[in-house]
């Protein structure tokens, strides 16, 4: 009897979720007003309205709206049409997308369907889902999966980025989009594949998806120019869509891709710097100091916003992004480090921040990746007008889930991964370990005209292996960059890196092993902005 009551209660939950899925619209104006009142600093600190507030229709408090949001006032003399009132369109600002929670959920489910069909077309066994496989997955619960490193540490976060931007492109805030990402990830794991639901995928898809998602969303808005018309506008929308396909597709479908508006102010960074470098890299291994043949690489760094100062409650209004193509793999490094909270401390110029980290590193010598959160303290020496400045930054935090090569005690190097017997079915063994842990680090950067001259970086990461070889891994990475300016935006750079790994096995002998991978590179560097 008790059990039947519970079942009925759950069914009612499901039904009422749908029945209750009514979107308050006209009330949103007041929601936003109340939130700004409750947290006035959110307005005072930044000219942009807090994106965490679903402030659709907040005409009065939005600086943009006062100039552009009035339906009676065209944006430009050549603006094609006057905008309707913002609250009627459920937009947080004139250039913002229409808010729809229902569409966010629906688009997330469609994305899952798209991935499922794509896998089916590719002939993957795991795509042949039925209600029986759903049931089997629910009955089993979470497991560790055996997919290869790139799929789990880069593929799943990228898929999560699509869920995240399904929410962002439907007008949801950063924090709300995190929940949609978890929803998309959870439903994919249970209902998208015949594989049992994977715990590591849930973490990597959700946390990695949030980090990559907000980074790509903001990068897309850097490319998109909503003031343009005609072909140049079309190309700017297409360019943005390459970075953030879900938002791009939604804008073309809804017609936002041709609306002439101001860019939402939350997506206009207070500072922007981009750096590129292209050159050759020599990597050493445990067995040989350096290989004779260098690996070519192309590395891009983006510094979005100002991490050095200011009070911030807008997630990812400042972030750093790095991607390295080549250098031992197609994509050998991806890092996203986004600020969630920023707060100046005292009068001494100290800056406190809480950050989210996504890390992926894969090359022919080692593989490592992690989803982490940390707190940092930084201090800048030299005022903003000084030509030469130095930033000192230290951080420490927790790794929710990290991965690193699995090196059993009796092996000197990991064997090559074998292809799966049936496409899409991961039969293992998996050659990397999973576990939570901690991290800490310090970096010092000397800049001249806001361009890095010398950067010293150190990071230590501890992983306690829960799945794989029973061991504690301690990973350290040192990196020293020097870029000498040549002419204009061009420079020539030299980088030395040292990846050091200590593994403390939990065997009877408490074996300890160390591995070192030095790396040298030389390159042509240029400043993008």
């Amino acid at each position: 009897m008790w059990g039947r009551c519970l079942i009925v209660a759950l069914c009612v939950l499901g039904w009422s979720a749908g029945a209750g899925a009514q979107e308050p619209s006209s009330g949103r104006l007041r929601v936003a007003a109340g939130l700004f009142a409750a947290n006035p600093s959110a307005v005072a600190v930044s000219a942009a309205p807090d994106p965490d507030v679903p402030a659709a229709g907040d005409v009065a408090s939005s600086p943009e709206a006062t100039s552009t949001g009035d339906s009676a006032t065209p944006l430009e003399p050549d603006a094609p049409q006057a905008s309707p009132p913002l609250n009627a369109e459920r937009r947080a600002c004139d250039g913002c997308p229409r808010r729809s929670v229902g569409k966010a959920f629906a688009h997330t489910t469609i994305i899952n369907g798209f991935y499922g069909i794509a896998n089916l077309v590719r002939g993957q066994e795991t795509a042949k889902i039925t209600p029986k496989t759903w049931w089997a997955n629910m009955e089993q619960g979470w497991v560790w999966d055996l997919d290869d490193f790139t799929v789990n540490q880069f593929g799943h976060p990228y898929q999560g980025n699509n869920y995240f931007n399904a929410a962002r492109s439907n007008g949801m805030s950063f924090w709300e989009s995190t929940a949609i990402t978890a929803f998309g990830s959870g439903t994919w794991e249970y209902y998208g594949e015949t594989n049992h639901a994977s715990l590591n995928d849930l973490v990597n898809t959700t946390l990695g998806g949030i980090a990559l998602g907000e980074m790509f969303h903001r990068a897309g808005w850097l490319v998109r120019d909503t003031r343009k018309t005609g072909k140049s506008r079309l190309w700017s929308e297409i360019g943005a869509m390459v970075l953030d396909p879900i938002t791009g597709a939604n804008r073309f479908i809804t017609g936002d891709s041709s609306r002439v508006t101001d860019k939402p102010s939350e997506f206009v960074p207070s500072h922007l710097a981009g750096f590129g470098s292209m050159g050759a890299m020599w990597r050493g291994t445990q067995a040989a100091e350096f290989e004779g043949t260098p690996d070519p690489f192309l590395e891009m760094d983006l510094l979005y916003g100002d991490v050095e100062s200011g009070r911030s409650r807008t997630p990812y209004d400042a972030f750093a992004f790095r991607i390295r193509l080549g250098g031992g793999a197609g994509v050998s490094e991806v890092k996203v480090r986004g600020r969630l909270i920023g707060e100046p401390l005292g009068d001494g110029g100290l800056q406190f921040a809480v950050l989210q980290d996504y890390a992926y590193e894969s090359n022919d010598a080692f593989h490592t990746g992690a989803q982490s959160f940390d707190a940092s303290l930084s201090k800048t020496f030299g005022n903003t007008s000084a030509k030469t400045r130095m930033l000192l930054l230290g951080w420490g935090g927790l790794t929710v889930l990290g991965a690193v090569d699995s090196l059993p005690v009796d092996l000197e190097a990991p064997p090559e991964e074998q292809g799966n017997a049936v496409q899409g079915v991961s039969e293992g063994p998996r050659y990397y370990d999973y576990g939570p842990g901690s991290l800490f680090g310090v970096t010092a950067m000397v800049t001249r005209d806001r361009r890095p001259l010398l950067t010293a970086f150190y990071e230590g990461r501890h992983l306690f292996s829960l799945d794989g070889v029973r061991a504690n891994h301690f990973l350290q990475r040192f990196r020293l960059d020097f870029v000498a300016p040549i002419r204009g935006p061009l420079g020539i750079g030299f980088t030395g890196e040292f990846f050091d790994r200590h593994t403390y096995y939990q065997d009877a002998n408490r074996t300890r092993k160390s591995y070192h991978y030095p790396q040298l590179s030389t390159y042509l560097a240029w400043r993008l902005s």
Binding site: W2, L6, I7, A9, L10, C11, L13, G14, S16, A17, G18, G20, A21, Q22, E23, P24, S25, S26, G27, R30, V31, A33, G34, L35, D52, P54, R90, V101, G102, K103, F105, A106, T108, T109, W135, M138, E139, Q140, G141, W142, V143, W144, S173, W175, E176, T178, A179, A182, F183, G186, T187, L199, L202, V400, G435, P436, S465, L466, D467, R470
Partner: protein, 207 residues
Amino acid sequence: MIRLLRPIVFCLAIAVVCAGTTASAQSASESSSVQDLKGPGSDFWLVLGGSFSTIRGDCQTCEGDYPYRHSGGFLGNAGFRVTPRMDAGLEIFWMPMETAGGNIRNTHIDAVGQFRPWASKGFFIKGGAGMAFVRNWVDVISPEAFNQKALSIVIGTGWVFRPHSRFGLQVFGAQHAAALGDLQTSTEQVPDVIGNFWSLGGGIVIR
């Protein structure tokens, strides 16, 4: 009990999927004021409740078929309101259970976010991650417990009645998982164990 588990889990899944798919058909029609959404309560968020829970500890690389076990559990949330739709904080989930060789007490401490997609309605989804502390008494080996730490994750859904009042009630379905590596039993040390906990319960909500 196993027969009971199947329809429970299936309905839980249907509830989650319905939240996503049926929502798209809904129209915007309701207006709510800030006070309606925030209510008389503060931004503090506290939930205290209990659950009926089923656990299965499984080794995915082993041949053995591991049983489902059932017990009561305690669940508590404490945190604050980030937005009218989003709460964030800590969750404690505690569940004792009898095993063939003794008993195990599981304590999950997770950082959680709880999201109500429609601010005026009580439906919510929840997710989080943290640590689980497992105290495992194996009577035939030692009177002392084997203490282990595990990676914990939680997902869940539910409904809050009177979501904007100072006092409310909620019913929830949740799934916790604890990935703890090796687990000592009375006969062997089982490798790569993940414990899955399915819970149905209710609690009081204080804001």
